[in-house]
Amino acid sequence: MTTPSAPLAPTPGQTVGPFFHYALPYPGDRDLVPQGSPGSVRLHGTVHDGAGAPVPDALVEIWQAGPDGRVVQEHGSLRRDGFTFTGFGRASTTRAGHYDFSTLLPGPTDPGAAPFFAVTVFARGLLHRLFTRAYLPADAPGASAEALAADRLLASVEESRRTTLVATTDAPTPASAASGVLGLRFDIHLQGGSETVFLAYPGH
């Protein structure tokens, strides 16, 4: 065992740059479960810059618990077999700045906890990755207003900015009614009046 000592200085980050599209995306990257499969949800949104314009060269990653609230430690995110849920997904934004995941609802990792997706954002022009959380809205299965109100992180954020951390439920459409796929929207604002609350963890 190593004895704890003064932390080593970290290797600094740098921007993902404009040329990641032929390297980081891979087939099935955004489909943690096959699109439209029973019980699946669509988590999607637009990444905006400080002028409100969509960011067409961003990369969004999610990391989440399974529906039972357990942390998944399964291989296979890079080569999806269609059956194994790995909890990790990656989506590059479209020309309209939109990202899209097909996944399952995360369950509460601890009894009574408010479930959320852990989110990482990269982009050309963004010099160092950003972290945030996308909480399930109160009306989503497994979520509740009580759990959201009791959440420590949400409580520590000023009220006017709290909504930037909570996804919203899409209005049903004929397509969503037919497939039964719940839509969750989580827009990301890198800067500006509706700037998303981004997180710093200890050691950052």
Binding site: P12, Q14, L127, E195
Partner: protein, 258 residues
């Protein structure tokens, strides 16, 4: 559309020098790039203006996605064998160890790289640099660290390339790296540079890390012990992720068979 008028290098140099001067005056050591770094023009509208919110990592954030042999073919670590012929340029090996802030190896974890070819050209539809595409070089690699945190790639030394940040702007040669740690909070994407690059002082992306000692952590060192006889030159670059918050279990600290 008329071509935008680009600032000369001297203007960008003056902006960077002013920021460096203020940093030295302030006397508080920084280890990461500034997201708000105006000399890198694309950052202007893409950096948060409010300070980051402190979060204590909760359960899911104390774990990282897990990758394994199903995810990565060992051949993906050799970027020189992805086509029928030999790519053009200086064949090189880059290797190093990935550890957390306590020096503990990050075992069996994913490392992804991408880069320009020897002429400074990416295989990307948006790259308009009029340098040749090498039909024998794509410039994308992946590997898993071994049981002691080591990664190793065989590739071609990338060339510097121009970009449109300002007039006559050139990026120092670099390889893009993407790493996962043992927990979510350690995720990082960065760029590795080569020793002695004359473009360092002129590059606002490199210099967005205002601390010179922190910048030096992105520069690989030439290592003759990595260089191989009549085959490839060798570079060593170690990666330290931000400290770990989770109390590591035996699976993390033993070199298990998974």
């Amino acid at each position: 559309m008329p071509e935008p008028v680009l600032a000369p290098q001297a203007d960008v140099d003056a902006e960077m020098a002013a920021i460096t001067g203020a940093y030295e005056q302030a006397g508080v050591v920084e280890t990461q790039p500034r997201r708000d770094y105006a000399p890198y023009r694309s950052s202007l509208l893409r950096h948060p203006t409010k300070s980051l919110h402190h979060a204590d990592p909760e359960t899911i954030e104390l774990w990282a996605p897990c990758f394994g042999p199903t995810d990565v073919d060992p051949l993906e670590a050799d970027l020189t064998v992805q086509h029928t012929g030999e790519p053009i340029g200086e064949r090189m090996v880059v290797t190093g160890r990935v550890t957390d802030g306590e020096g503990r190896p990050v075992r069996h974890q994913l490392v992804e790289i991408w880069q320009a070819n020897a002429g400074g050209r990416y295989v990307h539809k948006r790259d308009q640099h009029p340098a040749a595409v090498d039909p024998n070089f794509t410039g994308v690699g992946r590997c898993l660290t071994d049981g002691d945190g080591w990664y190793r790639f065989t590739t071609i030394k990338p060339g510097p390339y121009p970009w449109k940040n300002h007039r006559n702007a050139w990026r120092p040669a670099h390889i893009h790296f993407s790493m996962f740690g043992t927990e979510f909070t350690q995720r990082v994407v960065t760029q590795m540079y080569f020793p002695g690059d004359p473009l360092f002082a002129l590059d606002p992306i490199f210099r967005s890390i205002v601390d010179p000692a922190a910048r030096a952590r992105l520069v690989a060192s030439y290592d003759h012990d990595v260089t191989t006889h009549e085959w490839a030159t060798g570079y060593r670059w170690d990666i330290v992720l931000t400290g770990s918050n989770r109390t590591l279990t035996e699976t993390d600290t033993e070199d298990g068979d998974h």
